[in-house]
């Protein structure tokens, strides 16, 4: 099947405006601004069943419909922070199929009446930002951005904004703080961005991949999109496959494909053909799923993954084989979360600090079973109490790791 999102894999040079336009590019945007009312655009997206690809899977059309029309101006922000360990799909889209993303962003902006949109890229995507700036300039030259676009009354500007090395800025309210020139620390929610967002104004934040889905939906219709994937998870998803597989990389597949198919068919199986041990389906924030046949045959959609004790999240599938001990895995993840905790709320700031001390001790072989018990207890003490989801994420691998792979910890503390 031809790619819907990773179209560059089928069409060379689609990252050039002329090539993109020759292949149907900007037809959707044209249709929107010249023939549709903003709310009609939102309705189509709503009907398509598109859910946010940033991790939480929130219905995109519904989010757009929440925009507060009593307070102006509105903003749209593309979340290109892509910092979850194991996630590397947005970068491929922006580097290789940038216009489809930009078109989706422009359509969303039209749908909610925003005249300025920001793309928040993680600071490391320095070159990607420069590349996008050129693409944006191309669009301006072609009259696809700027004043009175395509003869309509609609005007839009798109700007890139670079972060500077902070995972927390992927959290949408921290991201907004960061654009406002502040420390990237999450805000209390509610109010949510569609009510109070950037500069206190109604704002829609979506992931890069989410936006990239929008042009084909508008062109082909909601029903077409819904026909792909599963009832609860419509459409296609880019799965970032990494870890102990032979062929890591991005794979665009309809929701509902099994883990087995992803890992063995697309990923080429495990390095050295070792047995697979665990899967983290949503990057470092995931639960550790014990891999057995049942797990391997579970379809990858939001509802099904939950049945095996995990969340699909951003679908960054990290594969762990039997050469890897789980105490090492959680030491890695806690190292990450301790480094990335913004420090605003107590449980995450303090919890990660102490958890790291314990995972270090356990992993280095100087820990005791009491340390493991305390570690589990501290992780649970954090759960449900943090200001944002980062603190919650940090506990996932720890709790599921200790509870589901106790033997690895017994070994580690005995050594």
């Amino acid at each position: 099947m031809a790619h819907i999102l990773l179209r560059h894999r089928d069409i060379p040079d689609i990252n050039r405006l002329d090539v993109y336009q020759k292949n149907g590019g900007f037809e959707a945007f044209k249709k929107a601004v010249t023939a549709m009312k903003p709310t009609e655009v939102t309705d189509v997206v709503k009907a398509s069943g598109l859910r946010g690809r940033g991790g939480a899977g929130f219905p995109t059309g519904m989010k757009w419909s929440f925009i507060d029309n009593k307070n102006w101006p509105h903003y749209v922000v593309a979340n290109a922070d892509e910092s979850e360990p194991g996630t590397f799909k947005d970068r491929e889209i922006m580097e290789s199929n940038p216009f489809q993303f930009l078109e989706g962003l422009a359509i969303a902006s039209y749908a909610v009446g925003a005249t300025a949109a920001y793309i928040y890229l993680r600071g490391e995507f320095w070159q990607v930002a420069a590349f996008l700036d050129e693409r944006i300039a191309d669009m301006e030259k072609a009259g696809l951005l700027g004043d009175k676009i395509l003869g309509s009354d609609y005007s839009l500007k798109i700007f890139t904004h670079l972060g500077a090395g902070a995972y927390i800025c992927g959290e949408e309210t921290a991201l907004l703080e960061s654009i406002e020139g502040k420390r990237g620390q999450p805000r209390i929610r509610p109010p949510f961005p569609p009510a109070v967002g950037l500069y206190g104004k109604p704002t829609i934040v979506n992931n890069v991949e989410t936006f990239t889905n929008v042009p084909p939906i508008l062109v082909n219709g909601a029903d077409w999109y819904k026909s792909l994937g599963t009832p609860d998870s419509a459409g296609v998803k880019i799965f970032s496959l990494s870890g102990r597989v032979k062929n890591p990389g991005n794979y665009e597949l309809p929701f509902g494909v099994t883990f087995r198919k992803l890992v063995y068919e697309y990923g080429g199986g495990i390095i050295d053909d070792r047995p697979i041990k665990a899967i983290m389906p949503a990057g470092a924030s995931s639960s550790l799923i014990v891999v057995d046949d049942k797990a391997l045959d579970t379809p990858m959609d939001y509802a099904s993954v939950r049945t095996i004790g995990g969340d699909l999240g951003s679908a960054s599938v990290i594969v762990i084989d039997d050469t890897v001990s789980i105490d090492w895995v959680i030491n890695k993840t806690i190292h990450f979360f301790k480094h990335e905790s913004c420090g605003k709320c107590t449980p995450c700031r303090e919890g990660n600090y102490w958890m790291l001390h314990m995972t270090e001790r356990i992993h280095s072989g100087t820990g005791t079973q009491a340390d493991v018990d305390l570690l589990l207890n501290v992780a649970k003490q954090m759960q449900g109490k943090c200001l944002c989801a980062l603190g919650e994420f940090a506990t996932m691998a720890v709790v599921t790791g200790i509870e589901r792979f106790p033997q690895d910890f017994q070994k580690a503390v005995k050594a």
Binding site: E124, G181, G249
Partner: protein, 168 residues
Amino acid sequence: MSLAQKYPNEVNQIMAKYPPQHKRSAVMPLLYLAQREEGCVTKSALKDIAQMLEITETDVASIVGFYSLYHDQKAGKYRMQVCTDLPCALRGADRFLEELCGNLGIQVGETTADGLVTVEGVMCLAACDKAPMFQTQGPDGIRYHENMTVDKTLELIEALKKSGREVE
């Protein structure tokens, strides 16, 4: 010399991105600009940016302190930042970093004697399928180097030494 004097075009472009009443938003891009030559944000740059954006120096410093890509201390001309996070580590990143440092005769976090490169271990860079990988942060901005080996890296360092610039 102030940033506005040194880079008038860049500063104007940056300021134009944000609503005039929210010019504080420009603090992050301006900090990158300030860091370009020195490799770190100097005290005078802090003052300069604070004045330009009508915020306090403390405000600016607290931004520098929060984000890991801003530095308040000088290091090597290039920071070579190897991802050693979970997905990369599952593909040998830790070993790569160790061997690289061994070859350069430095510890992680240290700078080569000629002051050219500082090697650091960093968190996930969104290139997990192309480990081992690192980014270089230097006067030419940030660049990715993927599917690396120690040999290829040493070659890159040699080239940097010769040209003084990052060759693409």
